[in-house]
């Protein structure tokens, strides 16, 4: 079998905010069909890295490739020209994102949120998208909420809508930034169960999380970040049973 391109890869990604280095030379490949969990202490740059993957933040150096194609720049390396804004927008359609605070669009119904980008960005026919959207909502247990507005939902329901919105794009990768951190404890389980189901279906996902038990069960790969660097990339088993660095050991012990 031919070597599969990684769904997403980061090469030498650096980011600084006004001279303050947040990401230092990060390399990471995410294989198609796998779930990668990014762990690390607060402020280690996890969110920033995730946001560089779809160029919500522009990396100060390094390349991001989606199935081998650069995003953000028209080629590789620092000298490559930036993509035109509409080109970048188009490139982003293959990467969906789920945010910590849901970021639903409150003026649209649940189904409206799910159908918005497929209809208005991808230009697909509304009836088709809505039929798919209803199926996705049914799958995350929200069939009867299709016509409700976001403000009537619980946090857990909102996050499941946000996941449905991501799925409706049929993206190559879904990025999750602490999808359960803003939830009441009793709602964490329902959202993690949905993400776990997606992992079992073989979606490609990158999940920043503080939920160790979840990472252990669901991740194919665990990435440990600290102070803007990737300190360790391992299978969950190796990561928890046999951590390579002192820093990792302390992090695991503390969580």
């Amino acid at each position: 079998m031919a070597e599969l391109e990684p769904a997403i890869s980061a090469r030498g990604v650096c980011k600084d905010f006004g001279g303050f280095e947040v990401l230092r030379d990060i390399d990471l490949d995410v294989a198609t069909g796998t779930t990668t969990c990014i762990l690390g202490p607060s402020g280690s740059g996890k969110s920033t890295f995730l946001r560089c993957l779809n160029w919500l933040e522009e990396p100060s150096a390094g390349d991001i490739l989606i199935q081998g194609k650069p995003i953000g720049r028209t080629g590789l390396g620092r000298d490559a020209k930036r993509m035109a804004r509409n080109e970048l927008a188009a490139a982003r359609t293959s990467i969906a994102m789920v945010f910590q605070h849901f970021a639903l669009w409150p003026h649209l119904t649940v189904l409206g949120n799910v159908a918005e980008a497929p209809v208005h960005v991808l230009g697909r026919p509304r009836h088709e998208v809505e039929a798919e959207g209803r199926a996705i909502l049914a799958r995350v247990g929200l069939a009867e909420k299709a016509d409700a507005y976001p403000h009537t939902l619980s946090g857990g329901q909102k996050q499941r809508v946000a996941i449905s919105r991501a799925l409706a794009m049929k993206p190559k990768v879904i990025l999750f930034d602490e999808p359960t951190s803003a939830l009441d404890p009793e709602m964490v389980g329902e959202v993690l169960a949905v993400i776990r189901g997606l992992a079992q279906d073989g979606l490609t996902m990158v999940v920043v999380t503080h939920e160790m038990a979840f990472a252990r069960k669901v991740a194919d790969t665990i990435v440990f970040m600290d102070a803007g660097r990737v300190r360790e990339v391992a299978t969950p088993h190796d990561f928890f049973a046999n951590p390579q660095s002192e820093r990792t050991k302390r992090f695991i012990a503390r969580s």
Binding site: L56, A89, A103, H107, H120
Partner: protein, 217 residues
């Protein structure tokens, strides 16, 4: 009051309503455009627009009308009284409403915009699909108050000879030596015009609230 006297005032009412309607339709989108351009922070343009807004907001409306009618011809813009009145009203309300739009744009949740960008929307799409449908609702109340102020500014255009409600009423009062009836009628018409505006605002707000399952305010 005789029928011709009433007709004079009603004609004035028509002028007031038409001036206001046209100026509202022009100034609100212009105010939004001003706000959007300033939001972009384009170096020189930002400064010019800020100066325009500051000056127009600081200038008494009568002065603005006189300026448009008597000073603009010097720079080659010669207007009849009615277009001059519309231009003055539009400039005034565009400047004031741009501040309302600007506040709404600044208060717009960043995470919603980011989500839209992350899902591949271009700037235009983000604005038309996500931002605008929300900010016009949020700004409806302040915009309607701005528009009632516009309506109440209209008598100032009498200084360049446009006969609107107030001018018509005082004319009738002067001719008949009975100012009370024409001014009562004038007041009644203003009240109706403003009531129509406020009422439409309520209806729109209530409809939106009902659709979204919110309790009406």
């Amino acid at each position: 009051m005789t029928w011709p006297a009433i007709r004079t005032i009603l004609d004035g009412a028509l002028v007031t309503a038409a001036l206001s309607a046209i100026s509202i339709l022009l100034s609100l989108p212009m105010g939004l455009l001003l706000a959007l351009l300033r939001w972009r922070r384009i170096p020189v343009i930002e400064g010019l627009l800020a100066a325009f807004v500051t000056i127009v907001r600081a200038t008494p409306f009568v002065t603005l009308v006189l300026f448009v009618y008597f000073v603009m011809p010097a720079i080659g813009l010669e207007l009849d009284p009615v277009p001059a009145a519309i231009l003055a009203l539009t400039a005034n309300t565009a400047a004031f409403s741009s501040e309302i739009w600007r506040a709404a744009l600044q208060a717009f949740p960043r995470d919603q915009r980011e989500a839209a960008i992350a899902f591949g929307m271009t700037d235009t799409k983000v604005f038309t699909r996500i931002v605008f449908p929300q900010i016009w609702r949020a700004s409806l109340g302040p915009l309607v108050s701005e528009v009632t102020i516009l309506l109440k500014c209209t008598p100032a255009v009498a200084v360049i000879g446009v006969v609107e409600i107030t001018r018509a009423a005082s004319r009738v009062g002067a001719e008949t030596y009975e100012p009370l009836p024409p001014f009562l009628l004038a007041t009644l018409i203003y009240t109706v015009l403003i009531a129509v505006l406020v009422r439409s605002q309520r209806v729109i707000e209530r409809r939106l609230a009902r659709r979204m399952g919110l309790t009406p305010l």
